[in-house]
Structure formats: C-alpha cells, structure tokens
Symmetry: C2
Subunit: 390 residues, 2 copies
C-alpha cells in the first residue's frame, strides 16, 4: 500500500512518501472485529504464514502459530502481517530511491523507532477500515511493537500479546547490538552505506553480525546439547583430529558460519543497523522517569505475556517487570513462563505447552469478540489448562 | 632465554628455535623449593607484578595478587612469569622472523596448544634448575596451563592453583571465539596473516573481536549497574536525547569501542587467533573418552580452585566438574566459590574474600615447603577463615 501523506518520525525527520508491504490471512468479518496484527522481529517480514505457490520452502516465519486450525486460527481471525519501514522485504527502506538524492537512501534512511513503525501500522489499519484490532501480537522486537500499540493507541486493540520480549534492552543487549553494528560499519564494502551503487555488499560485516546475534538467540544448554565439542565431519563415536589451523574444527563453528553466510546473502546491511537501533531505543518508561507503571497507566487492553526459562537475551525477569507494572495498574494480565530449552528462539519453535497457551488465549479473544465456540477450540483450552505452566 | 633445541608441538609441527621472555620476583631459596610459576591468560604477559622504573602505569596484570606482602608473597616465594609462545610480548611469535621463510611467521606460525606452552615452560624450569614448583598457578586460560602441568608433570609441582577456569570450552565459548576469529580473518588488512609486510594492522577486526570478548568477561548484572541505559555525555539526572544515528548513544557503546580501540593498538592479530585456538583445543579428558576423572588420575599435586558466582564465561559449575573429578581420584582439593559481582574479570580484581582465600592457601604452601610462620601470615589466615565462603 502506498502512502503519500508524510510520516513524521520520532527523530524529527519525516518520510514524505512510502510503501508498506503487507499480507493478510483469513477473512475480515462484517463488523471488522476479528483483525489480528502480527508484528515481526529483526529479520522477519510481512510473510507470517502460509506458502507461495504451494512451495513448502516459502513457509512464513510464524507458520506454526498462524493458519487454519492453528493457535491463531485464520478460520476465525483476519491476520495481517506488515513489513516494517526500513526493512528489506518490500516496504520502503534504505535500498529504495530517495527522491531527494536521486539515488538509494543508503545510510541516509532516517532512523526509525518502534513507535514510528506502530504509527505506520496504524495508518495501514485506517486504510483497511480496522478501527480496533482483536489483538496486536508479536515476539521479541515484535512484542515491543505490540506493547507500544497498547500505549499509543489504547482504544485500538482489545488484546495485547507480548512474547519473549522486554520493555527495554539491557546494557548487555545494547553491547551485542553495537558489536554487530561495528562489524558492518567497519567493513570496507559498506562504503558509508552507499554500497548499492558500487555493486558490493558488506558480507563479512553482516556475517559476523549475524554470528554474534545468533549466539544470543540460543541457550547455552541447548548449544551444549546440540553441538557440544563435536568435531565437524567426525562421527561422535570417533575421537577425530584437530586441524591445527583457523578453518572449521568444531560443528558449532560450521553451523554459525553457515548461518552467517546465509544471512549475509539476503539481508540488507543498512536494515540491520536500523533495526538494532530501533531495539536499543525502545524504552517507553524513559519519558516517565523510568517508571514503567506510569508508562502503562493509559493502557486499556487485556494482556497476554509469555517468556521462556532459558532465554538469556530477554529473560523471564524482563517479562515479569512488564507483568508487575500492568498488575500495578490493575490491568488484566495472563502470564506464562514456559520451561523450554531453546533460549530466545523458543518463541518461533513448536512447543505444545506454549502453543496450547496461545491457543487457549485466542479462544478467549474469540469469546470476547462474540465468536461462536466450537468443539476443537474447547478441546484446546482443556489441553492448555492441563499442560501449561503459568 | 633462548632455546636452540627444537620443540615438538602437538600438531606435529616443531619450533626449531625460540625465545621465551620471562620475569622473576623474589629470591629462589637454596633448595629451590619456593618457586611459583604464574601462567597468563589471553592478553597478558610475563609481566605479572611490579612496575618498570617506578612508573605505576606499568603495573603487572596480577600486581594485586603477587608482590611483597601480597597473597602470593614474593618475600617468601620466587615467582616466575613467562610469556607464552605465539604471544606478542617478547617470546617467539607470529611477528618474528621465520628462518624458513626469510620473513615474519604471520599465519604460518604453528598452532600451539596449552600443552605445548607447558612443555616450553618446563624447559625454562629446567634451565633455572627448578625440579619442582611449590605451585603452578593461573586464572582462566592460565588455570588451564596449571591443570595441564598437574597432568603432564605430576612430580614437578606440589600445588596446582586453578582460578576461574574450566577443563574445556563449551560450544558457546567456542562460538564467541570463532566470531572473534572471523572478524579478524575477514578484515582485508589481515592480508592472510602477512599484514606486517604491508605496514597495516587489521584494527577493525581486532576491535570487534575484543568488543565481543569483553562482553563475555563482564557479568550481566555488573554491566547493568555500571552502564545500564545511561547515555554518553548526559548527566544521570537528565533524560538526554537519542542521536538517531549510528554513532555513540549509550555509555556502554562508548566503553566497549574504547576497549576495542585500545586493544587493537597493541595486540597482535595472529596472536589473538592462536590464543583462541589454544583455548578451544584444551580438553584433557578428550584422550580418555571424555572422562575427566581418568584424565586427572595421574595427578599428585594438591589443588586449590576458585570460581566466581557471576562468571558466565567459565561458570562455577565448570570448576565444580574439576573438583568432582579430583575428589573421585581422592586428591586433596580446596575449593572456593566466591560471591562476586564482576563476572569472569573478577579473577583479576581486588576482592577481600578472594584475596584472603588465596593468601591462606599460600600460607599452607609455605608450611608445606617448611617455611617459618610469621605473624602477618597468621593474621591473614584468620581473616580468610572468617570472611571466605568455601
């Protein structure tokens, strides 16, 4: 969708003209009460669920969560995925033409914040005629967007679903982001952000950025279990030999380098810089002297939060801070702390307890908007109650 | 000290000819029973204690631990610090002339292991006429060397002092090391390791390597306390402004970039690669089917181990594994788990409980070698007993 009305940004800059790429799933009902906005995290996009042309390799990033009969059931809900401004999957970003420059924005693309993204998403909702979402939902950076919706547009969402997220990055989180940024910025192929014109890509920087990021998405235990000290191309029954060089010895090296290479082949370096800055800057309590309770005082939504025990990037403690601030405001909150081994990445992975908790919550949302119960949904609720750990 | 007898290495290669830079403190007694070898970690050197020419800025890296009247009291002990092979502080390393090439070794310097270093240190001890050390001691990578001494030369040390160390790196530890290596190797100024000839230094790669390393040396809590989300150049009473760019916003960014810049100005890139490989490869249980108890079966030393509660690089659990394996072998072990906020770096920092524990242990070592007690030492023991948490 094209927008020709300028979008003022938190930085003071504005985007004069921009496109938002979005995808929808399911059918908007007559009173437009069944819309769910799903906000994406760092390297994801508007392509939340389903596949293109029946090609299973193109499954959306939250395909296990969103779809017919899935926890966010598109037989009930009209789900919208939007690619955020500054990203590299279709919405206006650094690789697009900057009309003022006559060449791509590059590093001149304005720094956008979580709140800027939410402002742009609200305009898209306006155009789609959605006055109030049944829910706004996201994990990690997506959860920050959902939280920002509850603060900026309290009347425009009934439910706010925040998974594996935080109300602000810690010094350690910012530190890892800055390592990633420095890796990109110091790659000579970054060319001050204008690498598009030179036909190069700062692959080495992006690769290192992704490697360090990836370490923070996995739990220490999970990495130990999956990789341990296993050597590459050596059966676990065999002791194998060290190579005594700087190539690959261990499986974990091979895995991370592969992840880094894959990422650097499709992700935009300027987008990576922008998105890490949006993460760093998010801090709704900042304007309230650091008091998150005050920052959330104007919210009216009902909340669902979930965190994962082995997530050391955004640990359960960070979700509990949000829960506490909401409870202090007497908001209705459901909180699930899920005992899962997969670290921060758990929010994207199949886990019956997690999926059943979300399914059960979406059954409540369905009730809230006056939807008719059905047998399958009731079954899921009882499942969640018996298996979930709240 | 120059060595002209070839040193065979674990990789199968050999160093034909090499120098070891070392420093000593205190006086070797008549029966040569009071020698203590202090092994250094990643970026340290033979310069363990004291200052050069009375310049306080040149204090050794463990100056709070080693010196007259200090926990490792050089009025009693003859302390030796040795710069390891491959390092960049005087011992033969990648920046020195490779006689076979007629130019510096560069990346052709053979990959050396903890065991290779210990072998070289043993030759130095031979030359100094030290048949048996009162103690071999180290923190982190230095602790690995002490542990290797206890396995390789059980009769050559009475005591083995292993602080904030581990018997092997985890997948996560290796992953962080490989990020650092990839940052260096992909810096165009690395020039395949031959940057010396080109008059350049892979500063950007070294800088990123140090930044990511430094994050793992600090505890999450300590970073939160020291830096939190404080903005650079903004008083903590002031909310300040975000800069909406990729420069420095937060204090933690400024601190890490400064650490990275400082490091890249004095440390050698090839040395960094070599030392991270020595860390990755160390795993004495490897030759025993992963059984650390078997690996330590031949040890005869008495052991002192210490770990720090907030160290997430080499957590207390890793020290406990060593303690358990030693106890299974019925070795005499003293273990201190010190409640300290400073993460892995705690082993280098002043902490009365930690220092008193080490002091008390060195009083025992002094007893063991038949030294005369004195009042100051007795005082320190009672201090340690009352304050230490074992």
């Amino acid at each position: 969708m094209h927008f020709s009305q300028a979008l003022p940004l938190q930085s003071g800059a504005a985007l004069q003209d921009y496109m938002l790429m979005y995808e929808t799933y399911g059918t908007l009902n007559a009173d437009k009460s069944n819309a769910v906005l799903v906000c994406h995290a760092l390297n994801a996009s508007h392509h939340v669920a389903g596949t293109y042309d029946g090609d299973p390799a193109t499954a959306g990033w939250w395909d296990n969560m969103v779809g017919p009969g899935k926890p966010v059931d598109t037989d009930r809900f009209f789900v919208i995925g939007v690619n955020n401004l500054g990203s590299c999957f279709g919405s206006t970003g650094p690789m697009h033409l900057n009309p003022a420059r006559g060449k791509p924005y590059g590093a001149a693309f304005p720094v956008v914040t979580v709140e800027d993204w939410v402002g742009a998403q609200a305009r898209l909702a306006d155009q789609l005629g959605i006055a109030r979402f049944a829910a706004v939902m996201g994990g990690s950076l997506g959860g920050m967007q959902a939280l920002a919706w509850s603060i900026m547009y309290p009347d425009r969402l009934r439910h706010c679903v925040v998974i594996a997220s935080t109300s602000k990055l810690s010094a350690q989180n910012i530190a890892f982001n800055d390592v990633a940024r420095q890796a990109i910025l110091s790659d000579p192929d970054y060319r001050g952000g204008d690498f598009y014109e030179h036909g190069v890509v700062p692959k080495n920087g992006l690769r290192v950025a992704r490697m360090v990021g990836h370490i923070t998405y996995l739990s220490n235990d999970d990495m130990a279990e999956k990789f341990g000290r296993k050597l590459r191309d050596v059966a676990s029954s065999d002791i194998g030999d060290y190579k005594f060089g700087f190539g690959v010895d261990f499986e974990i090296e091979s895995y991370l380098r592969y992840q880094g290479d894959k990422f650097s082949a499709y992700f935009d370096a300027n987008t990576y810089l922008l998105i890490t800055k949006a993460l760093d800057y998010f801090d709704p309590a900042r304007a309230h002297g650091g008091d998150l309770t005050k920052a959330l005082a104007g919210t009216t939504a009902k909340f669902f939060l979930a965190s994962f025990t082995t997530d050391w990037r955004f640990s359960p403690e960070r979700s509990r801070e949000i829960v506490q601030a909401l409870v202090s405001n007497r908001r209705q909150v459901t909180y699930a702390e899920i005992d899962a081994p997969h670290g921060h990445d758990a929010f994207l992975l199949e886990d019956p307890r997690y999926m059943n908790m979300v399914r059960a919550y979406y059954d409540q949302i369905w009730n809230d908007i006056g939807g008719a119960p059905n047998h399958a949904a009731n079954h899921a609720v009882s499942n969640a109650v018996s298996k979930g750990k709240a």
